[in-house]
Each structure stands twice: as C-alpha cells, then as structure tokens.
Amino acid sequence: MKKSIRMTREVVLAIIVAVFILFLSLTTNFNTVSGIYSFMLDISPTIVAAIALSLVIFTGNIDISAGTIMGFVAYTAGKLAEAGIPFVIFLPAGMLVGVALAGLNGYITVKFKVPSIVVTLAMNMVHIGFYATFLPMSGWIENLGENFTWFGRGRFLNIIPYGFVLAFFVSLLFMFIMKYTKFGKALYAVGGSIQSAMYSGIDPDRTVIKAFLMEGLLLGIAAVMKATTRSDVMPSLFIGRELFFISAALVGGVSIFGGVGKIFGTVMGALLVYLLSISMIYLGFQDYYQFALQGIIILAAVYITVTDFSLLKKSYCKETDEFPGKKGEEA
C-alpha cells in the first residue's frame, strides 16, 4: 500500500509522454540517431526555460518578457564570442544579463505592487523596441566560430548533446531545491498565501525577487544553450517563445494562482507541449496553427487546475478568498 505509485498528475503526464514517444518512434525518424539527437537538442532549452518560468509562477507571478530577456542574453553571448571570449566567460555574462533584466521585473513588481503580467508585458515591448532601435543591424550577429558553437553542437557518445546533460542536471537540481530547501518551501508558501507566509516568518518581497533572479539565471542558461546551436544569433530569436514555456509549466500542473506544482511536472509538460507541436508539423499543419493550439492548451490546462478539487484543497487560502457566494451556488 505504502509502496504503490499514486496516480498523480505528474505520473499520468509521464505515461502520456512515453506513449507519445513510442508512437512517434514507430512512425517517424524518431528512432534514428539523428532523430533522437535533434529531439534532445530542441527540448533542452525549452525544459530549462520552463523550469525558470515555473519558479516565478510558483510565487503567483508570471513573466511575459522571458522570450525577449533570452534575446538579450543570446545577443550578449554572441557579441562576446565574436570578440573571441571563451564559453566559460560568456555563459556567466549571459546569465548575469538574464538576472539583471528579470530582477528588474521582479523589483518593479514587488516595489510598486503592480501585477507582474502588466510589468513584463510592458518590458517585452521595451526590450523589442530597444533592440530594434539601438542595436546595430537589430543585433544580428553572423559567422560565429567554433568557440561559440562547440557547446551547442557538441555531443557525448555521438548522440547526447551537452545541452541535454546540462538540462538534465538543472532539472534534478531544482527538483531537489523545491522539495528540500528553505528557498523552495518559501516559493510555495508565498504563492499559497502571502499572509500565512508572512506569519511564518517569510519575507514575501524578498522571496518573489529571489524567484525572479533565479528565473533570470536559468533563462540565461537556456538562451546560451539554444544560441550556441547556431552560427548566427539575433535578439529576436526568442520572441513569442514564452508562450511555450508558460504552457509547458501549466500543462505540467503548475497552478497559475501560485503555490502548487512540481518541477518534474514542468519537465513532463515541456516534453508534452514539444511533442504536440512537432506532431502537428509531421501532420502537415502550417506553423501558425501553433498559436491557436497553444492558446487552447493554456486555457484547458488552467481550467483543469481551477476545477481540480484536490489541487484547490492544496492552495488552501485561495478557495476561501474568492467568491464565497459562487461556491454556495455550485454546492
């Protein structure tokens, strides 16, 4: 009884992903070396960025400017690599850019008590306007050499990309952090109920800012991971990608209200969203069907979360906080 696996949302997702991969490998080139390699290459940055977004969503916030922050990181890394600076320096530099920009989002959100979605929406616009206006050639860098691309294109045993290994360890690390550290507990607590968190001695402001800083760090890693697979880099590379990261987190069971969710779920969500989108490409749908699909996925995932009573019970303060009248009608 104790040892039996409970059918949590994460386990169900993992099974769906496994079945999905099985079918894809039976019908497409998924079972070949190049198929597996390109799958791992594509999925790694998405996983890391989805974990980054999850950290912010755990606290009840959101970051719409994640894609454009990654653009700045990619530009910084590309510019440094163009000047011959090695990976061990441009990766931390890129992470620093991510931390600075995401930290600014977090600071404005917390300091001026405005919803993060509006702040980051505005920041999104500022970022895009900035690099289209102030960067030479809109920040397009081409002909990057081996010192830039070795990380993105390198592989272990001719099949596993370096980025995938990094994404794997980042996932494990954050599963551990969210489960066993004070920081992880604080994120859930603030997302669950700010007041309860405050009464148990957690500073909500600092926790939210920390979540944004950590998000920036991970976005930095994800952006460098993706950018180094290419020999040309531009800041507009990630515009609109935040949609995938957010829907990955939400499909993985992260509650948009904060306080609920698991990193393992996010990873499975990222895999599922990616598999869905490439299946649509295999089925011959045009690229722009993705927008409609992601919109429906977000709506469906959030709808399941708000109607899932086991999840609602976990976010204890949320339910009693909102419309008691409406609850009475439903009962």
Binding site: F112, P115, V118, L121, M123, G129, F291, G295, V302
Partner: protein
C-alpha cells in the same frame, strides 16, 4: 463624504497633468517640425487614433473591475479578416459589416463567459484567447491580404465633416459620451468600481456581477469589431499583422489616463485625453520619420512609468492596501 471630495480633486489634478502633457507634446513636436501646427495635421491625430481609442474606452470599464483584456488587438484583426473574407466572397457590404461586428461581439462574449463562469483569472484567459484569435485569423487568412473594398465603405469611415473634422473622431467622441455618461453618472459605474475594490461585497449587495462581467467583455468585443471597420476604412487592407502591439497601446492609454491596474479607480475622461497624447506621439514620430519600434519602445516606457508614478501616489497606496487580501501582490504590512 469628505473622501469623495478628496478623490475628485486628485482626479482633476491628474487630468490637469495629462492636458499639460498633451499641449507640451504638441508644442515640442511643433517646434521640431513646424508642419505639426497645421490644423489638418492635428485633426489627423484624431483620425489615426479612432480605432485604438474606442477599444481603450471599452477597456477602461474592464480594468476598473480589476480585469483586463489582452486579446483586443487580435480580436480586431480576426474581425477585419472576417470582413475581408465575407466581402470578397459575397460582395455584399452590409453582410460583411454585420459579420465583422458579430465576430467581434462573439469573441468578446467568449472572453466574458470564461472570465465570469470559471475561476480562470482574466489575465490568463485573455492571454490564451489572444494567441487563439491570432492563430485563427492566421489560419483563415494564411498569407493573404484582403483589399479592394468599395469607395462607399471607405467614405463611411474616412469622411471629413465640413471638410475638416474626421468622422473617426465623431465616432470616438460619440462612444466616449455614451460610455462616460454610464460610467460617471449611473449605477453601472459605481458597480464597476465596487467590483474593482471588492467583488464579494458587490455580489452580496445583490448586483449580478457575472452578468456585468459578460456584458463589459462583450461590449469591448463589439467595439473591437467596430475598430476593425474603422481601421479598414482608413487603410483598407485586411492582413494578419493588424493586431500586433494593439493591446499595449490600448492598455497604456487606459493606465496613463489614471485607471488603476488593480481596479476600483478609473476615469474614462482620462483615457480620452491619454488617447490624444498617444496619437500626438504617433503622429509626431511619423512626421519625424522615426520607426514604429521607437514608438513602441516609448509606449512601453510610458506604461512602466505610469504604473510606477501611480504606485507612489498616496491614493493608490490606499487602494492597494485595501486589496492586499484579494490580490496576489506581495507586500509588507
């Protein structure tokens, strides 16, 4: 009572600041480009802001209830595409206009239904439907652009009254007067502000908040459909990039106009002036041949600054602290 008096005086000063800003901008652009002082150029400001303007007026209602609609731009885009498709396949103008208005209304109703009937927050709902509407309009139109609308239709939306006053401005003012009278003088305005402050108490005082919510989102949808017609009358090409950045412009106008993003405080008149400010900025940038990206960059900065400026004023602090329990914004008490 004294509280009410207090609030009105603060709002008046805020609108005073906006009007000063408006004239300051006009004078600055006029000094840089003397052509800006010509009446025809100033009137053109009203013409180019008509479509964004009507959406901003409807959005003020929604932001006052502490909701938001991010899907406005792509609602307008989808309505425009539907107009183009129906007109080019049937050549029936009345049918096409009806289809565009109906499309906008249905999409707005869809948003309102989800927001009112489920617990999904409006921000997330409309973020999702924003991508959904964008996707649908791209699926319908593909890479096609629709053009070749009849002269009569264009005239209906580009006519200049007495040869000078753009008809878009008449439409914008008419919508403004109707919405402002409902907002400032009726029970509806009080209910909207009350919903922004505390939805429960409004609900318990017998107001049907679900109906109001569905109503205001549907109204905004209708205005989006109308905005699509105004846009097509002016530029007469329906394509799948109409909606880009429109939601930013609309939300910036509403927040710059003095409506609190947390709800409960709002001003349709402020939105009216803010639209004119953004219009002057747009026209000024066009005359100085600066790109749309610089315009967007400026608007983004204005949006963040207006969030910050209102956050530090005393009034907003009161609003926010009374809403701590309801919203998810971290704060020290």
């Amino acid at each position: 009572m004294s509280m009410t008096g207090n609030k009105i005086s603060i709002k008046l000063t805020h609108q005073g600041v906006l009007v000063t800003l408006l004239f300051g901008l006009i004078i600055t652009f006029g000094l840089i480009e003397p052509v800006f002082f010509r009446p025809s150029v100033l009137l053109d400001v009203m013409a180019i802001m008509g479509d964004v303007g009507v959406m901003a007026l409807g959005m003020t209602y929604i932001i006052t209830t502490s909701g938001v609609d991010l899907s406005v731009g792509y609602n307008q885009q989808l309505s425009a595409v539907v107009f183009g498709m129906v007109y080019l396949s049937t050549r029936n103008l009345a049918l096409a206009i009806a289809a565009a208005l109906l499309c906008g209304t249905v999409l707005g109703f869809f948003n309102g239904l989800i927001v009112a009937k489920t617990k999904i927050p409006p921000l997330v709902t409309t973020l999702a439907t924003m991508y959904l509407f964008r996707g649908i309009s791209m699926i319908l139109a593909g890479s096609m652009t629709y053009s070749g609308f009849p002269q009569g239709f264009r005239l209906f939306f580009t006519y200049r009254l007495f040869g000078v006053l753009p008809i878009q401005f008449i439409y914008f003012t008419a919508v403004f007067l109707i919405l402002d009278s409902l907002y400032s003088y009726g029970a509806l305005g009080r209910n909207l502000k009350g919903m922004g402050f505390n939805e429960e108490s409004v609900h318990f005082s017998g107001v049907k908040i679900q109906k109001i919510k569905i109503g205001i989102y549907t109204l905004l949808g209708l205005l989006c459909g109308f905005a699509a017609l105004m846009y097509l009358g002016r530029l007469s090409v329906a394509k799948t990039s109409i909606g880009d950045w429109i939601n930013f412009q609309v939300i910036t106008a509403v927040l710059l106009g003095g409506t609190s993003i947390n709800g409960g405080v709002g001003s349709i008149r402020g939105t009216f002036i803010a639209i004119l400010i953004i219009g002057v900025l747009k026209k000024g940038y066009t005359l100085m041949s600066l790109s749309g990206n610089i315009f967007n960059f400026t608007l983004g900065t204005i949006l963040i600054l207006s969030l910050i400026v209102f956050a530090v004023t005393e009034e907003r602090k009161n609003v926010v602290s009374s809403k701590i329990r309801k919203t998810n914004i971290p704060t020290r008490v």
